[in-house]
Symmetry: C2
Subunit: 350 residues, 2 copies
């Protein structure tokens, strides 16, 4: 079968690899129906996170279960499943606390799988899923209609990650919110904030198509300014002090600085941007303003059961973040399109 | 009249200064009944925050109103009042949001008062109180019994600051909590956590008298270990992962590091230690563990109305943090005793 392997900076290839096989009694094998490229994959693609040897890549996928190990109970051959962007048992104390990304037995796609074996990447035709009972969520009703697939695929990462930003920021009924970052996660954070009852949501974006998508997701305002001007504009919009909550969905020093300086005194920054080499947070500023910071790697698995029904009944349509669809064979072009910001998010079909 | 002036490192003097007079129609003049020395005063005393010219010092006091300006409505001559450790109008948008330490018109004792005038310090016989209607809280019933004065005085800072640590850490019914710092604020954070319903509260202390006081405030456990050993001990006590909440009540790089590494994945650090030259927070660790950080300079004024009735009816007795009482004339000895950790907190009577 074929799967995506990253060899180094700007060198992504679809290659022939061995078919996956069950290695542990809790494993399943899933045939991928759709996968996609994540903004965080670009850190490797751009050389920000060096790649020392060729590795499998991709961590978002939906698919059909083809085999299950002897211990697998909640997933059966033929089920259509959504996988979170990591492996977890969904039973340990951290999973029960709602932090399945800190699962005591978990692992990561394209990396160590938590059992000492190497996990496959999601951008391939098939993969072995460790801890299948914990990791996979079955979509009731079997194979969904084709137009639902992009919506379901966002539950693998970006929609749940945007939701995590909003939850970490404490968004609730009546909150005023600004979102830093107009990538797929930032756009999903807009949608999640609206869903949680925010009274006003500002998308910070200077990209026309993304501004439009943010508005279609419920953003009430768009601010194109950044830095000091962005801070000033947000103060102007919110009582001279700024919004209650700012969602940081990029991961750079500049975006975190923007977020911390934009929230009102006593406000909160919810952050989900994978920190790319820092930044360290200025505790003196946080102390004097009482702006809290909370977030991190999103416990997607813990949110899936809450969000899945709303996707299935059409209330939640985050799939609109995909603005390009390519066959898996063109995975290199998918990375290039996202790297060059020609596409917000690319869906791949094997 | 006499008031305390700090001249430089380890140089605190009680000096003759001009009597305070009403400068603005919103001012009051208060005769101090009791004041005290704060752990944060020690940053100046120790030269960590350099003192460039002699300045009035002290920001915690209770007293009796002696004069009020023409615009003062909620405070009358003869009232016994508690002042927060800062000046605020209690009406601006930040005050209404619960963050009166970010009052748009506020100021600081011994510093700029928010109107461009210089504010008196609290360690003196009398002081001018700007924005008296906003700043001062009247204790119903007039002059309290002498043994209530220490309890009331803690509402000026340490009890409300400990409460702010617990609120910022999200302590609620059933929370497991560890408190880093066994000063008066840390001890009050123990008391506040118990009051908010924590099921288990660990005081981190290696000081016998403070351990005993922490237990009398409701601490269920004491951990004397620090650093890696402290982290390991807390993991051991709480499911191998650590407590839900850690309250940072010191303000050093070491104490914040202790707090961040001790909280369980998805936990929260509530911090109120005045950051002494940093530290910057490691965003990568916060991201991977989903441990949030929230806190800062405590909005005491916003908590006073909630806590005052419990002090008055004896349910809340935080005054036990005072383990030394001296006449104001011995203010230099009060600083020395706290600096040398011979006293946890010193009460001064003019």
């Amino acid at each position: 079968m074929r799967a995506t392997v990253i060899h180094g900076e700007r060198d992504v290839r679809l290659e022939e690899v061995p078919d996956p096989v069950l290695q542990h009694p809790g494993d399943a094998v899933v045939r991928v129906v759709a996968a996609c490229v994540c903004g965080s994959d670009l850190w490797k693609y751009r050389g920000v996170q060096p790649v020392h040897e060729p590795v499998r890549i991709g961590h978002e996928f939906v698919g059909i279960v083809e085999q299950v190990g002897d211990d697998v109970r909640s997933v059966a051959v033929g089920d259509f499943v959504v996988a979170p962007f990591y492996v977890c048992d969904n039973t340990c104390v951290n999973c029960r606390n709602g932090v399945s990304t800190s699962c005591l037995h978990g692992g990561w796609w394209g990396s160590e799988d938590g059992t000492g074996s190497s996990a496959d990447g999601g951008q391939g035709e098939r993969l072995r899923v460790p801890l299948a009972d914990g990791t996979l969520v079955v979509v009731p009703g079997g194979l969904p209609s084709d137009d639902l697939v992009p919506d379901l695929l966002t539950l693998s990462d970006v929609m749940c990650t945007g939701h995590h930003a909003a939850v970490s920021g404490g968004v609730t009924t009546g909150s005023t919110v600004a979102v830093v970052g107009d990538g797929a996660v930032g756009l999903c954070a807009v949608l999640a904030s609206v869903r949680l009852g925010a009274s006003r949501v500002v998308a910070m974006s200077r990209h026309e198509a993304r501004q439009a998508l943010a508005r279609s997701f419920g953003a009430t305002d768009v601010v194109a300014e950044r830095g000091d001007e962005g801070v000033a504009r947000l103060k102007e919009l919110f009582d001279g002090i700024g919004p209650d909550v700012v969602l940081e969905c990029v991961g750079t020093k500049e975006s975190m600085d923007q977020a911390l300086r934009s929230a009102r005194p006593g406000g909160q920054v919810g952050f989900v941007g994978v920190p790319a080499g820092g930044p360290e947070l200025p505790v003196g500023r946080m102390f004097s303003t009482n702006v809290g910071v909370r977030g991190g790697v999103a416990p997607v698995r813990n949110y899936l059961e809450e969000l899945l029904p709303e996707v299935l009944d059409g209330r939640l349509r985050p799939g609109a973040v995909f603005d390009l669809e390519l066959p898996l064979a063109e995975v290199a072009e998918a990375y290039a399109a996202m790297d060059e910001r020609r596409a917000t998010k690319v869906l791949l079909r094997p």
